[in-house]
Symmetry: C2
Subunit: 246 residues, 2 copies
DNA sequence: CGCTGGATTGACTCGGATCAAGTCGAGTGG
DNA sequence: CCACTCGACTTGATCCGAGTCAATCCAGCG
């Protein structure tokens, strides 16, 4: 089977040495993706979890709605990202998963996933590593919410998303398909304030957002504003920002 | 081997059906715990991760220090909790782990842990489930930081810690061995404000803290203030608060 | 061509931070 | 046994970052 290498394969290859048998097995499991429209829920809080979701194209997010009606986004899922391994063990989802753009999502049944991990130890290693990194990202998110002010918070998220999508795109400009409203829900701010902060970052020449793209005009400045340390992303070879850093 | 059942065993038993061979294997790996003094770091950011840590007695936390010097706690570890499975795969810790009280910690070497998971599938299931729940707790923490005000945030944390330590203690009162300063670092607030909030919660008759113990005087009120929904803890049989809830 | 959802900007408010004292309790040593 | 110290707790006064409320602008689209 000669499958086009997808973002998922690409990501796992960055996490462990995979041979062609490994990548073929992965490709086979992700060959029949399903489409989700922008703003469509992939799975909802309370639902019984089934297959493992793998985002092949587009952006998605995890979120919760509070009694008050306000929403908090706890994670962005980029192409190549996958949702919780072993979710099937839980009785009910404790949060929602939603497509932020048109998404291509592979659904891997729990037993097929188990078999994959069993038969391909290198894939298992990559998946476990990926899970560890995801946890690190959650922890970094908590740090941002707790101890960074709004400019720092916005800048930090941009740094993270830039590095996470670096493998896909070229330099300094990445796809950034999220509205200020979504950004506000992710950062625990109001859309109004997000708007002001973006303006500020634009005025100091750090970044600009144009037609769904994020252009980092001054990487070093952005990193400094954010107080960004990429160690929590556990990338093997640090290229992007680190080149700019001392 | 007739080992005293410890909190770790107890916790895993709540997550999966374990036979005596399973529990014996676990006990064997946790029989030589090491002591850590209060405020002592167990492992530091940047360190190469080694064994898996299991908290047998006492409280610990994960935290990060920002360039500004302020600290954010991202997780509390209670007796029975264990740190990341497979950490050994990462090159460096991205956060610190610290004892909050005198702690007894078991150190399980990576290969012994691998063998345990391999030979005892039920234990593996319990561990994976535990990891999923820990992630849910991180996500709930993000929601608190992003969208709850300080009273709600304090109340929510109390609800969570109460339920998490419920298995150990009896009703309405739990050990709560953390200072207001630590609480502030966990909730992204200042110690001064934490103090005021605690006073407020005391005055409305929801909770009191006395000599390192948390007494929940009005569980229903606390739950209402927090907007607490315990679903993210994925407990099999819901007893505690839910009895009070409609 | 009007409708709609996002982006933008201004005026005003308020929750929580900051600054500054002062209190309390557990050691600790003379 | 008491004075001293040190850390945590408590309280008040003031300040500021971000929320709230309310218009307006703008682009895409049916």
């Amino acid at each position: 089977m000669v499958a086009m290498s997808n973002h998922f394969v690409q990501k796992l290859k960055n996490l462990a040495e995979l041979d062609s048998a490994d990548t073929d097995a992965i490709s086979a499991l992700t060959s029949r993706p399903r489409d989700y429209a922008s703003k469509q829920d992939v799975i909802r809080e309370g639902d019984r979890p089934g297959p493992v979701f793998v985002i092949l194209k587009g952006w998605a997010c995890r979120y919760k709605i509070l009694p008050s009606g306000s929403r908090q986004i706890m994670a962005f899922l980029l192409p190549g990202d996958c949702c919780d391994l072993h979710v099937g063990m839980l009785a009910a989802m404790d949060h929602n998963l939603q497509a932020l753009t048109l998404c291509e999502v592979a659904l891997i049944p729990g037993d097929r996933m188990e078999a994959l991990l069993e038969d391909h130890p290198a894939v298992a290693r990559a998946m476990y590593k990926s899970q560890l990194i995801d946890e690190g990202i959650l922890r970094a998110w908590i740090v941002s919410m707790g101890r960074r002010n709004s400019v720092e918070r916005v800048a930090h998220l941009m740094c993270e998303l830039y590095l996470r999508s670096f493998s896909i795109n070229s330099l300094n400009e990445i796809a950034f398909p999220i509205s200020q409203i979504v950004l506000a829900d992710a950062l625990g701010m109001t859309p109004v304030h997000v708007n002001r902060i973006l303006k500020e970052l634009r005025l100091v020449g750090a970044v600009t957002i144009h037609r769904g793209n994020l252009l980092i005009t001054d990487p070093l400045k952005l990193v400094q504003i954010a107080g960004f340390d990429e160690n929590y992303l556990h990338r093997r070879k640090a290229v992007a920002f680190s080149r700019e850093l001392v």
